[in-house]
Symmetry: C2
Subunit: 263 residues, 2 copies
């Protein structure tokens, strides 16, 4: 016998309301969470508990949970229960993160930053290969047909948070250390500058959307978590686009921060 629900924790239904029952239940759960009656990671009452408490059928309760899941408030674990989704630590990305002074010896910015924050960083799924440029990438790089693609996935404390691909024109990158799995100290931007492409500025485009099924898989996203899609183009002092970096981030793990002159 599961302990009956503490009375007063959740209210009753209003049969006169024209708000659907499953919405009312979702409202009450949401409010209880917002008011701190349930904390991050807490287990919500089980489906059976709520069926009994409200006197509705199980599908109605499940329907309520699915609303909250869509809002990213809770997540269900098979065999365990439904839990208030904990907010993971966020990674702040500052707009000056690619400034020359931040290019570290050997380690990537991601590793250095995560170490400093006390988390355990990893990079995996590293893949470097030549391929046909997508129409979008080709347009951004100035009508190149084929590109060097560098793919990698970033994890914090075992959790995947970001999947990124850099695209570079073959005439720049082929045969250089950029085409190696390890691009060397300072990363590919340091190599680009050594190759005579002094970096002038970056352009970043930011979108947010729900993830594709493939993105859900690679980033192990809970339902109700959007992704931030960032496309950065690096320009050298000649005005040439020398790299396009396409990044998909778990939105609950990031805050982007930009500093802009008022000019």
């Amino acid at each position: 016998m599961s302990p009956s629900l503490p009375s007063g924790l959740l209210g009753d239904l209003d049969p006169t309301s024209d708000r659907a029952v499953f919405r009312q239940i979702a409202d009450q759960l949401r409010e209880a969470i917002d008011r701190g009656r349930f904390h991050e990671g807490d287990k919500l009452p089980s489906e059976a508990d709520l069926v009994e408490h409200y006197g509705v059928s199980r599908m109605t309760v499940r329907n309520s949970f699915s609303i909250l899941q869509g809002e990213g408030l809770v997540h269900a674990e098979h065999g365990k229960g439904v839990f208030v989704r904990p907010r993971p630590p966020v990674r702040r990305l500052a707009s000056d993160r690619f400034a020359r002074r931040h290019r570290e010896q050997g380690k990537s910015a991601f590793i250095v930053e995560a170490d400093a924050a006390g988390s355990h960083p990893q990079v995996d799924s590293l893949e470097v290969k030549e391929e046909k440029a997508s129409p979008d990438v080709s347009a951004r790089l100035g009508s190149v047909r084929r590109v060097l693609a560098r793919r990698r996935r970033y994890l914090l404390d075992g959790r995947p948070v970001e999947f990124a691909t850099s695209f570079l024109p073959l005439d720049i990158a082929r045969g250089t250390q950029i085409a190696e799995p390890n691009p060397g100290p300072g990363g590919i931007y340091a190599r680009l500058e050594e190759l005579g492409h002094r970096l002038d500025h970056f352009e970043e485009e930011i979108r947010a959307r729900m993830p594709s099924p493939a993105e859900v898989k690679t980033l192990r996203l809970a339902s109700g978590v959007p992704v931030i899609h960032l496309i950065r183009t690096a320009f050298d002092t000649e005005g040439r686009a020398v790299e396009v970096c396409d990044t998909v981030m778990a939105a609950d793990a990031y805050v982007l921060s930009y500093q802009l002159p008022a000019t």
Copy 2:
């Protein structure tokens, strides 16, 4: 009698697969959409059609639709059908949109920009009042207790796309034109500079998340559409934070664009 489904449009179920039936159906619909068999705004087969085609119960079909809805791919209209969600025109926000040279005479940046793009802009729900600063706003403005809040909602072609609130310290804004519904030509930034607060730089923080029920309502968001939450702080040349602007945008209506020096 509804026309039977064109054969070949959707495949069959794989009973040997351990992928759930409703996921298989969602997969097939998603693929059909991706391949362009259904275009933006097209009506998908009705629930009854799919029940017949796949030989499953209606709840199973509805389950499939709810997956696609969560992904923001489709939306249901009561009494009409389920449709492929059209991608609305996006508004590009450039990082220099607050440069002095862009301060127009009289009209707000939003209006000017939208007019130029050929869409019909509106601003409503304008509300200007003094209130208690939230802890977050207070911290950003340097421990002020009360603030002037300017709220407004922006619409493009009748569709709400953004809801923004500016917070200003009372000692700066009280009694000035900033406290009036119409802040005058060039907006509140022009007024701030006239009041001796020459703007030095902005800081913008960007998050993405699923909307709260209140945000769904004010922005009339379809399910499966996240919001972009942008918090901008304006600093004057003395280093003082003179305004915090909290903006919630429908993510499917925006692309943010930043230009960064490589330093």
